[in-house]
């Protein structure tokens, strides 16, 4: 196999997989065939991604012709690895629980994963944008997938409206870049092609940065562009919530970081991200404190984690160097495991609970003591939630630690204040995570879940895998940093010097 074929492997497998899963679902009476095929497609794409690490990176490849189209970087490999892994887990958990005749579910799921992989490997801004739209269009139908529920359709509607506006702003930002770079959009050439304007009242590149951050920031759910997120994550099927929270939203942050990394140092893109990140984590935590419903609480708690990552990326772009990117990328990796596991665990609990009690609201009070009856799901939720809170030595701790260290070292007193804000937010999150944990194992004589059966095997096995990885990545962070550090180093190398 030549290098070009290898480079196109992960994306090619997924693109073919979209058609294959649709044909399998349409031709077979059992949707589980398509589900297993989707899991296999993601697994093969994951294998192809791992294989890419054996090649010399970073490298640009021309595929399907002479024009350069794919740039295989460590960041791309990281994003593709996470996306295909979570995609496989989401496919497996969905496999036994899908209604007959829903042949579009798995192709859309694969398309979402393919879009994320495209974002990671895109060699220029336009390919990145098309990949972003592939991910977005697939999710437009997956969020309101339960069309029988009015609330799901309303959530899908809001999600669609906000993200369409975001997409228009993003392509507008890209067109501004194009107009100011002399027609260059390739990431490896943009750094030298973009020159900040001197003596102009408003630098067009600064406006382009703003459009890109706001445009992609809608999908990333950066505050105040987050209003679609709580309803969308709550109403989407649990596997899709896991995919959105663990993969799609961080992919938008990767899109932002790839775009902003090529701008001249005089454009304060890092500061802009730090500002957005600080507001996002604080507002997200405050909003989550008021939530009582399990899935909605997890949805709201996704917002501060976006904030932590944005702060890390911002500090890195500001000049915080490799440590900041290490923290941000490690948290993207950990977030996929923690959030994916937590959403699937809550999904498993609600799935069993509403079978015996259809009207159960799924609040902390109404599930008090359920952990004794569903130990696997409860244990997975405990690990996921503690990791999300940043409790050492679980996966969520190390990314935050590096972001705190990088913030404190980057910019004197302001940096120390930012680091303290990250720490304070981490403690603040215990305010809603601890009551959730307490409710799982509370002794409530009035409530009995004796009729509940343990988590279905099709969910329990992926849950155990994801939870084990959350623990392993926490206990052996070196393994995680070996994955993310080359990506962080490559990103830091592309950042232009901040001009005085």
């Amino acid at each position: 196999m030549n290098a070009e074929s290898l480079a196109f492997g992960p994306l090619g497998v997924l693109l073919v997989g979209i058609f294959l899963t649709y044909v399998a679902a349409a031709a077979s009476d059992h949707d589980e065939v398509a589900g297993w095929l989707a899991a296999l497609v993601c697994a093969v794409a994951l294998g192809a991604t791992v294989l890419l690490t054996t090649t010399a990176l970073p490298s640009s490849y021309s595929v399907l012709g002479d024009a350069g189209a794919l740039r295989i970087t460590y960041l791309g490999v990281l994003v593709a690895g996470i996306a295909t892994f979570v995609g496989a887990v989401a496919s497996v958990t969905s496999v036994r629980f899908l209604d007959a005749g829903q042949e579009t579910y798995y192709p859309l799921l694969i398309a979402l994963v393919a879009g994320v992989v495209g974002i990671g490997f895109s060699a220029d801004m336009f390919t990145l944008y098309v990949s972003f739209e592939l991910m977005a269009v697939a999710s437009y139908a997956l969020v309101p997938f339960r069309l029988g529920r009015e609330s799901a359709v309303a959530a899908g509607s809001r999600y669609l409206i906000m993200n369409v506006v975001g997409s228009v702003l993003a392509i507008f930002g890209i067109s501004l870049v194009y107009a100011n770079s002399g027609g260059v959009l390739a990431f490896d050439a943009l750094g030298s092609a973009l020159v900040a304007s001197e003596g102009q009242l408003v630098d067009p590149l600064a406006i382009a940065v703003l459009f890109l951050v706001v445009g992609f920031g809608v999908k990333a759910a950066i505050v105040p562009l987050h209003t679609w997120l709580p309803d969308a994550y709550t109403e989407a099927p649990a596997a899709i919530s896991a995919l959105l929270a663990g993969v799609a939203t961080p992919a938008a942050l990767v899109a932002i970081s790839k775009c902003l990394a090529v701008f001249p140092g005089s454009i304060p893109s890092g500061l802009l991200l730090v500002g957005f990140g600080a507001v996002t984590m604080t507002v997200g935590n405050l909003l989550a404190l008021r939530q009582r419903e399990l899935k909605r609480l997890l949805a709201y708690s996704s917002i501060p984690h976006i904030g932590y990552i944005v702060v890390g990326l911002g500090v890195g772009l500001y000049g915080g160097g490799v440590v900041a990117f290490d923290g941000a990328f490690f948290h993207i990796l950990a977030n996929a495991l923690m959030k994916g596991g937590a959403f699937l665990a809550v999904g498993a609990i609600l799935y069993r609970l509403r079978r015996v009690d259809p009207d159960n609201p799924g609040t902390m009070d109404s599930v008090a003591g359920i952990g004794y009856q569903m130990p696997v799901a409860a244990a997975a939720l405990v690990v996921g939630v503690l990791a999300l809170a940043g409790v050492p030595p679980l996966a969520g701790f190390w990314g935050k630690l590096f972001i705190v260290v990088a913030s404190a070292e980057a910019a004197g007193t302001a940096g120390i204040l930012l680091a303290l804000l990250v720490v304070a937010n981490s403690f603040l999150s215990l305010g809603y995570y601890l009551p959730l944990l307490r409710s799982l194992f509370a002794r409530d004589d009035e409530q009995s879940f004796a009729e509940l059966r343990p988590s279905p095997r099709a969910i329990a096995v992926p849950l155990v895998v994801v939870t084990t990885l959350t623990i392993v990545v926490g206990l052996a962070p070196v393994a995680g940093f070996e994955i993310v550090h080359p990506a962080a180093e490559a990103m830091a190398d592309t950042i232009p010097e901040v001009s005085a």
Binding site: L15, I18, Y22, V63, L64, G65, A67, A69, T93, S94, R96, F97, L98, D99, A100, T104, P107, L108, A111, A114, F126, T127, V130, E133, L134, V137, A138, A141, P144, R146, L147, G148, V153, A154, S157, L160, I161, V164, V165, S167, V168, I171, S175, Y178, A179, G183, P237, A238, A239, G347, A348, L350, Y351, R352, L353, R354, R355, P358, R453, P456
Partner: protein, 185 residues
């Protein structure tokens, strides 16, 4: 320097975008957003990004607007009433507009040379493919995914929509798991 047409298109993009934010009737919101996308497509075309213009006009201005309308149709009773009885008329009208727009775009693109290195006599499609093969492939897949999304959003909602499924536990026969399957699916 941006031409007069480009400035006008830019102004139209911003005005239509603002209108989309300000309007309350969802039908007009969709129309304003689609118009904004089309104006942006003109701007991109004038600025020398014909492939981005084609993408913006077809995917953002067309496909996403259709998805938008479908989602609204499930939430807005007035829209359902409006569409009822006019389906054929609307379909013919939308088709005519789409084909007309496609013809205009194609006519315009046929005069375009994508880059200085390419042969001006070479058909546009071949130039387009040679310059952006992966983008063309991704847009093709994107259109297919858009059709799947439309297919999903237009699926009739019946009893099967909420819960059937397969038992995951060998102690329970298939079909018993009917309830609540949606929560994890």
């Amino acid at each position: 320097m941006t031409s007069t047409v480009g400035v006008a298109a830019l102004a139209a993009t911003i005005l239509c975008g603002l209108a989309a934010v300000g309007l309350r009737d969802m039908i007009w919101v969709v129309s304003a957003l689609a118009s904004s996308s089309l104006a942006l497509a003109v701007f991109l075309f004038v600025e020398g990004m014909p492939y981005a213009a084609v993408f913006e006009a077809t995917v953002a201005g067309g496909l996403v607007s259709v998805l938008f309308l479908l989602v609204i149709s499930m939430t807005d009773d007035d829209y359902v009433e409006f569409v009822r009885g006019r389906t054929a008329l609307l379909a013919v009208g939308a088709g005519a507009i789409f084909l007309g727009a496609l013809g205009v775009v194609w006519q315009g693109l046929s005069t375009v040379t994508l880059s200085e290195g390419t042969d001006a006599t070479e058909p546009f499609v071949e130039q387009f493919w040679a310059a952006h093969p992966l983008d063309v492939l991704l847009v093709t897949v994107l259109v297919f995914v858009g059709v799947l999304a439309i297919s999903r959003l237009t699926t009739p909602i019946g009893p099967a929509e909420t819960e059937t499924g397969h038992a995951d536990d060998p102690t329970q026969p298939d079909g018993v798991e009917a309830a609540e399957t949606e929560e994890i699916a």
